[in-house]
């Protein structure tokens, strides 16, 4: 039986069911599981359709008998109740037949699961680390070895998703499904992902790849994909990870081999330049630090302490707080090493970024408590 025939029938049925419940007609795309672009996702789709059809057949049978009975065996039509209340043969049949159907399902399911969990012989390995609330990607080998960056919700979505932002979210491209820096992988290569977390449990999921994997602190989970079609694929964090769980999407660019090579080269060059800048013992002006700090703050701090600096719920205000009023050393210490729910940023940001963001916090929103230089941060590490 061809998949397309199955698909058409499924869409027809799903539409019918939906028409019955809502009375609207909709684009067929959103009704069913996505087929995706990998062998794993295609397997999942096929198995999903098989199970769905078996369920539909059983439903038609069981509900058919039930509705017929409700129609024909009703008291108002003069039906008189029969006396029977057991029949061992029938009971055996409806115990054994479902069991056989289940064995029939278990065979392809087992095969698919073994394929899904076999991450051996990968061409490229990428470490994926979940943070509240962004992803970090690190290339462990291959052309992009050493490339490492954070990927957070893009700024357009981030502004529009503020409470009562008044933004028309349908005008924001890929609302909540766009990030500032995309993960890139080459086509046709088996890419292994090592998935872990820095804080709470997250789950890395791109529906078109056909799987999700939990990112758990203290664990390194392994999974893989192989995509043959160039394109941009989007997903989201799938495990509740705190306040901004809904705002840490996953975006993967699948690139042709040569595009991937030049991307890797660019990334390495950019990383080297940033490292050189941070390492220089230049003394920065307040304006330079403030400009840089604003960006770092938006990407790393605003989710909790808010763009206004006033905090929200359990997250404290930075406006005139004892910390920003006090010695710079105390402020640097908390940002570097963390405190309670505040994560340590020492490993995430370089000295320049840290100095910039701390300066920004101490001099914005009416604060005026002096600037911090990269060398101060270096000394505090």
């Amino acid at each position: 039986m061809s998949v397309s025939k199955l698909k058409k029938a499924a869409i027809g049925l799903a539409t019918l069911v939906f028409l019955m419940t809502s009375g609207h007609a909709w684009a067929d795309k959103v009704l069913n599981l996505r087929e995706g672009v990998t062998e794993v996702s295609q397997n999942a789709y096929d198995l999903h359709m098989i199970v769905l059809w078996i369920m539909v057949a059983i439903a038609v049978g069981v509900f058919g008998v039930m509705f017929y009975s409700m129609y024909a065996h009703r008291k108002s039509k003069g039906a008189v109740a029969a006396e029977f209340h057991e029949n061992h043969r029938v009971e055996m049949i409806w115990t054994i037949v479902p069991f056989i159907i289940l064995i029939g399902l278990a065979i392809p399911a087992t095969k698919n699961l073994l394929l899904l969990e076999d991450a051996s012989n990968a061409d490229v390995t990428i470490k994926v680390t979940g943070y509240q609330w962004k992803w970090q990607y690190e290339y462990m080998d291959g052309e992009a070895e050493g490339v490492k960056f954070f990927s957070s919700l893009d700024s357009a979505s981030n502004k529009a998703r503020e409470l009562n932002s008044g933004a028309d979210v349908s005008a924001v491209p890929n609302y909540l499904l766009g990030v500032d820096k995309h993960l890139a992988i080459p086509t046709g290569k088996k890419v292994r992902f090592l998935v872990t977390s820095n804080d709470v449990i997250h789950a890395w999921w791109v529906p078109d790849f056909g799987f999700k994997k939990d990112a758990i602190p203290g664990y390194i989970n392994e999974t893989w994909t192989k995509v043959d079609t160039v394109g941009t694929y989007r997903g989201q964090c799938a495990e509740l990870c705190g306040k901004d769980h809904g705002f840490m999407p996953v975006v993967v660019d699948v690139m042709a081999d040569n595009d991937f090579s030049s991307w890797a080269k660019d990334q390495k060059a950019a990383m080297a330049a940033a490292a050189a800048e941070a390492a220089s013992d230049k003394t920065w002006t307040k304006a330079e630090l403030m400009a840089k700090g604003e960006k770092v703050y938006a990407a790393n701090c605003a989710a909790c302490h808010q763009a206004t600096g006033k905090g929200i719920g359990p997250f404290p205000s930075l406006v005139g707080s004892p910390m920003v009023k006090g010695e710079a050393a105390g402020h640097i210490g908390i940002v570097l090493k963390g405190k309670n729910a505040m994560p340590p940023f020492g490993a995430q940001l370089n000295d320049l970024d840290l100095a910039a963001v701390i300066t920004y916090e101490r001099n914005n929103w009416g604060n005026d408590f002096g600037i911090v230089q990269p060398k101060d941060v270096k000394a505090a590490r």
Binding site: L47, L52, V65, E91, G313
Partner: protein, 525 residues
């Protein structure tokens, strides 16, 4: 009217005033308290659901901040599971089990009083967290560590204590139910003659005793992790966040059967009455219930396929999980076979029971789909799961409770309910509940994760429909309240038998059931 019951009635009626309810050891009073408490919690948990659906009505954040949204999903789940569904079943058990087995009361009446009166305090403590500094619990009703330990608000310690109290209540309630069923059956009421509601509750009570201590263990470990420097679930201290999930779901999976086995019992009481035909396959119903209870202990990790278990583990839990379809199928086939060649009428309890059979089965189908591990890697933690468990818990557990209320309300109050209000309540509920939850299947398949406060515009249409359905379903339950109050106040007199040909000891005593029944045990042939 049996002379025995009439005689029992003369002894003494109910005391008057507030102390009647405070100090009562009467199973009927305590049953009533449980049922009203659970209805109040249904409204509270429902109000939380309305906040969730209001925020999800349209894309963009319009009403609440994401942290409060998370508190709403958490409290909605906790209040509905521990406040609404479980106490409602215990309330039904209190009212019905002694009457069904011909016992004068529960075996341990003082403990019964205490089991109930813990609940309002536990519930108040749980709800009070919403007003504490830093907000209420915001980590989902499954409270996975370390989100619920290292990263949780201060109010979490109150949540932990509330869960402990709810656990005490459940365990005491279960001990009472087991003691009553084992010791207090009327002469001649052998185990295999017990009504199925009694059977399913007996098995459920054993499940509760087995798993509530496990939940208590999980929250106690959380408590010491949070306050006393232990590291059960903290990887940085040598602990294991996945251990939390194993412990939680070892409780959590039997828990979902705790919420559905008594429902099977209720439906097995109602369908034979209105089909005017004996329940098909009584003994296979009992064995199927016991098999489901056994299987519930060896399938917990199907909630955790994506945590990175060994493949052998994933295979085991997949096989064990899909196996549950067999005994569950037996139950559904038995109900259909009971209707077959019956002489059916469709009074409201029957309508609700039939809606249960169809809609619960839909939830069962999606459950089987979720059990297939390689596809679960797609379904997991999406709205497909949300749709699944609302079909089994709302149109399953809740519908069965409502069916039970319609079925036994005339026995409790002595009056028939208003047919008009009841019919409106039924049709509004059935239509709106499907508008609410059916589109959530599509959302999940299209890739919308659960527990998110905002979404891409691609998910907008179905979320809108789902929210409209939810508002309608919520309002329909207010009609239910009006119907119940009207029925308590008055209405057409119910006969002792209530329903034509209804069987069971509870239909041999007068309507309304006297304050004391079966002071002298009846003879069961």
């Amino acid at each position: 009217m049996s002379t025995v019951a009439a005689h029992a009635d003369d002894h003494h009626g109910a005391p008057k005033g507030l102390t009647r309810w405070l100090f009562t050891t009467n199973h009927k009073d305590i049953g009533t308290l449980y049922l009203w408490f659970s209805f109040a919690m249904l409204l509270v948990g429902g109000a939380f659901a309305m906040v969730i659906r209001l925020e999800l009505l349209e894309p963009g954040m319009q009403w609440v901040d994401p942290n409060f949204f998370n508190s709403m999903t958490t409290m909605h789940g906790l209040v509905m599971v521990f406040g609404a569904i479980m106490p409602a079943f215990v309330g039904l058990a209190n009212w019905l089990i002694p009457m069904m087995i011909g016992a004068p009361d529960m075996a341990l009446p003082r403990m019964n009083n205490w089991s109930f009166w813990i609940l309002p305090f536990a519930g108040t403590m749980l709800l009070s967290t919403m007003f504490m500094e830093g907000g209420g619990p915001n980590f989902g009703w499954t409270f996975y560590a370390p989100l619920s330990t290292t990263y949780a608000p201060a109010s979490t310690d109150f949540f932990i204590f509330a869960v402990h109290l709810l656990g005490f209540s459940s365990i005491m309630g279960s001990i009472n139910i087991i003691a009553t069923i084992i010791n207090m059956r009327a002469p001649g009421m052998t185990l295999m003659k017990m009504p199925l509601f009694v059977w399913t509750w007996l098995i459920t009570a054993f499940l509760l005793i087995a798993v509530m201590p496990v939940l208590a263990g999980a929250v106690t470990m959380m408590l010491t992790d949070r306050n006393f420097g232990t590291s059960f679930f903290n990887a940085a201290g040598g602990g294991d966040p996945v251990l939390f999930q194993h412990v939680f779901w070892f409780f959590g999976h039997p828990e979902v059967y705790i919420m559905i086995l008594p429902a099977f019992g209720i439906v097995s009481q109602i369908i034979p009455t209105f089909a005017r035909k004996r329940l098909f396959g009584y003994s296979s119903m009992v064995y199927a219930t016991a098999s489901i209870a056994f299987l519930s202990f060896i399938v917990w990790a199907h909630h955790m396929f994506t945590v990175g278990m060994p493949v052998a583990g994933e295979l085991f839990f997949m096989y064990a999980t899909v196996l549950i379809a067999v005994p569950t199928g037996v139950k559904i086939f038995n109900w259909v076979a009971t209707m077959w060649k019956g002489s059916m009428t469709f009074e409201l309890p029957m309508k609700w029971a039939l809606a249960f059979v169809i809609l619960f089965t839909i939830g069962g189908f999606s459950g089987l789909m979720l059990g297939i591990a390689p596809v679960d890697f797609q379904y997991h933690d999406t709205y497909f799961v949300v749709a699944h468990f609302h079909y089994v818990l709302v149109t399953g557990a809740l519908f069965s409770i409502i069916a039970a209320v319609y079925y036994w309300l005339p026995k409790w109050t002595g009056h028939m309910y208003s047919e008009k209000l009841g019919n409106f309540h039924f049709w509004a509920s059935v239509i709106f509940v499907n508008i609410t939850f059916f589109p959530q299947h599509f959302l999940g398949l299209a890739g919308m994760p659960r527990r998110i406060p905002d979404y891409n515009v691609a998910f907008a249409d179905f979320n809108y429909i789902s929210s409209i359905g939810a508002f309608g379903f919520g309002l329909a339950q207010l009609v239910f309240m009006v119907m119940v109050i009207k029925c308590i106040k008055g209405g057409e007199k119910a006969t002792d038998e209530v329903w034509e040909g209804a069987e069971g000891l509870e239909f041999e005593i007068p309507s309304p059931a006297p304050y004391h029944t079966f002071a002298t045990p009846p003879e069961v042939k």
